[in-house]
């Protein structure tokens, strides 16, 4: 996993950081207020609910115990969580491999082209997610376009089962998250100093070495940010995985959603959600500490 930039930008520039004055506090205030009101407050509510009970209609009854957590620490849910993380990881790696060249190309394009190209990356996603996914279903299904093409051209004799497989799940995730990898990498590539790359060449580095030893390290913040923006949201994503994967491999987002809705068990769903949050924030905090120790 790439390192989260938001918690780790405490590098060498530390000495230039200032103690905030009153004005700085005032400017930061909206952000802090927003976080407290719309992030911290709901999270606290979630945690409170995760210790509560519920009535037959699914309404919350405020009697507290650890029952939900006793139930949540079960191999079933852990397995679901691991599977979700695995898909998210695959998605992140594939998005990186596919997205980096595109981002590099856009970042190195003539300046007046850049915004237009960025827009072109984003526009396909201004359609409804369901329409896009059903389009993919039409492409991948047994009687679908891809199979028709493969069988028709004689490459295959039998249509392949592409849809409703883990392949389809990852394809769906990669497709929908690719822009969130391309955009942050682009912003890092865009500021690359041409002189540095040329210097590498002048010092006798081949294109491969120039790329791996100069360009990649310089664009690392963008790669890290892209990895965050793809990896984190794709853990809890489930609409794509259900539609394209056929639903036989439930993901954590789906399980929580179902406990919340048809299970009518908000407290239990909340407990699973809290667990996910805790695992995640812990991992983030640990990576961050490790990195600081190294510095």
């Amino acid at each position: 996993m790439a390192l989260p930039s938001a918690v780790s930008n405490t590098g060498g520039s530390d000495m230039h950081r200032r103690k905030p004055g009153l004005l700085a506090w005032l400017i930061l205030l909206p952000l802090v207020a927003w976080l407290l009101l719309f992030v911290v407050a709901p999270t606290v509510m979630l945690i409170v609910v995760s210790f509560a009970e519920r009535d037959a209609l699914g309404r919350i009854v405020y009697e507290f115990n650890l029952q939900n957590y006793a139930r949540a620490f079960d191999w079933v849910w852990l397995k679901v969580m691991l599977l979700s993380i695995w898909y998210a990881l695959l998605t992140t790696i594939l998005c990186m491999a596919l997205g980096y060249p595109v981002a590099y190309f856009i970042g190195r394009a003539p300046e007046r082209w850049r915004t237009t190209l960025l827009l072109l990356v984003m526009v396909p996603f201004w359609t409804s997610f369901l329409i896009r996914t059903y389009a993919w279903i039409t492409i991948l299904s047994k009687d679908g376009l891809l199979n028709a093409l493969l069988v028709g051209s004689g490459i295959l004799t039998e249509p392949l089962a592409l849809l409703y497989t883990p392949f389809a799940i990852v394809l769906g995730l990669v497709y929908n998250f690719l822009p969130f990898m391309i955009l942050p990498i682009y912003t890092s590539v865009e500021k690359l100093d041409n002189a540095l790359i040329e210097a590498a060449y002048d010092l006798g580095a081949g294109p491969v070495r120039a790329f791996s030893q100069v360009i990649i390290p310089l664009t690392r913040p963008g790669i890290a940010a892209g990895a965050m923006l793809v990896f984190i949201p794709s853990i809890a994503m489930f609409a794509i995985t259900t539609l394209m994967g056929g639903g036989s491999n439930p993901t954590i987002g789906e399980v929580i959603f179902k406990q919340f809705t048809s299970g009518r068990n908000q407290p239990f769903g909340a407990a699973l959600g809290t667990l996910l949050l805790v695992i995640f924030l812990l991992a983030l905090w640990l990576t961050n500490r490790q990195r600081e120790e190294r510095n």
Partner: protein
């Protein structure tokens, strides 16, 4: 002062007008909270035009979304569209407003089979909107065996060829039925039995889809489906190779209803809307858009013979006798979800 007088005069006039005819005032409103794509837009538009009531519509995609929002006190709705077991739960929790039957004379158009059901005796709180069943669709080009029951569907030979509803309660109910247990008898002992059956069944299933199981069937990715009858009716109309089967073990009969939440402000308008929708001509329009089992016997008479003969929309009397409605099982839903999830990940 002046506006107050005008208001008084106006409302007096309005009251007088109301006494003679059912013409509505300009400021009348109705907030509908319903399934998306279940009440055709032109039905709503016609109602608004005819009565002058300003209608706004909010949609949900599952009973539980609606319950969650209602439970948290969100929104002010005048009419909701719950399924039978949700009506039961809402009545139990005293969250519905009793209907004024005098305002809904068209209730007489509903067939006796769908009135006075166990979830709402005497229809004190709800009016049936559409009904339907769960059944089996078979692609006869790909499956040669004669499939008659759930046990015929879930055979090792059909592994990887099956699509089912993505609904844990439904799936468990089929397993219960195959053991001869009534669908609402979800004691721990019975669930344990169902789990035994499902541990053989679940590995055979390729796709879970509640929204559009017809897609996988039409695309040839699967050959057998256990789906809502509305899906079945569309498939039967699309291609003759599909056959509709009511499982020999029996199946679930669902009744989606209209009801008024206790907090509704414009309840009189909600009753007007119910009465409007129960007119045979209006109900026929809904049936044409959504080929479910229409409980409105007068509307069914207006349908074409072909529509009435679609076995997925209108099951035989004998089959109807085998069907059960779901009762509210409250907190058991969570356990049922867990059973199905655990079998899926095994």
């Amino acid at each position: 002062m002046k506006t107050k007088t005008t208001k008084t005069i106006l409302s007096a006039a309005a009251a007088a007008a109301l006494a003679f005819t059912a013409t509505a005032q300009a400021a009348e409103k109705l907030n509908i909270y319903c399934w998306s794509e279940y009440i055709p837009q032109d039905v709503i538009d016609d109602f608004a035009k005819e009565t002058g009531i300003k209608v706004s519509v909010e949609n949900y995609a599952s009973n539980e979304e609606m319950l969650a929002k209602l439970g948290a006190g969100g929104g002010s709705f005048d009419i909701i569209q719950p399924s039978e077991y949700v009506v039961e739960a809402l009545v139990k929790e005293k969250l519905l407003r009793p209907l004024d039957k005098k305002a809904i004379p068209n209730l007489k158009n509903i067939g006796p089979k769908f009135l006075n059901m166990p979830f709402d005796p005497g229809n004190k709180y709800s009016v049936p909107f559409m009904a339907g069943t769960v059944g089996i669709v078979v692609n006869t080009e790909l499956v040669k065996e004669d499939i008659k029951s759930f046990s015929d569907v879930f055979k090792p030979a059909n592994k990887g060829k099956i699509v089912v509803l993505d609904d844990a309660r439904e799936i468990v109910s089929w397993a219960l039925l195959s053991k001869g247990i009534p669908v609402n008898d979800v004691s721990d002992k019975n669930l344990e039995k169902a789990k035994g059956v499902l541990s053989d069944w679940i590995p055979l299933i390729k796709v879970y889809d509640s929204d559009s199981p017809k897609t996988a069937l039409l695309n040839g990715d699967v050959a057998i489906g256990v789906v809502w009858c509305g899906e079945g009716a569309i498939l039967l109309n699309e291609n003759k190779k599909f056959r509709w089967v009511i499982p020999a073990e029996g199946t679930h009969l669902f009744i989606d209803s209209l009801a008024i939440p206790k907090t509704a402000k414009n309840f009189a308008n909600a009753e007007k809307f119910m009465n409007y929708i129960l007119q045979p001509e209006v109900s026929k329009k809904i049936s044409e858009a959504f080929p479910y089992l229409n409980p409105n016997k007068e509307a069914v008479k207006l349908l074409t013979e072909e529509q009435r003969n679609n076995p997925a929309s209108f099951p035989s009397k004998k089959d109807l006798g085998k069907m059960e409605t779901f009762k509210d099982i409250g907190e058991r839903g969570s356990v049922i979800e867990e059973i199905v999830t655990s079998l899926k990940v095994e």
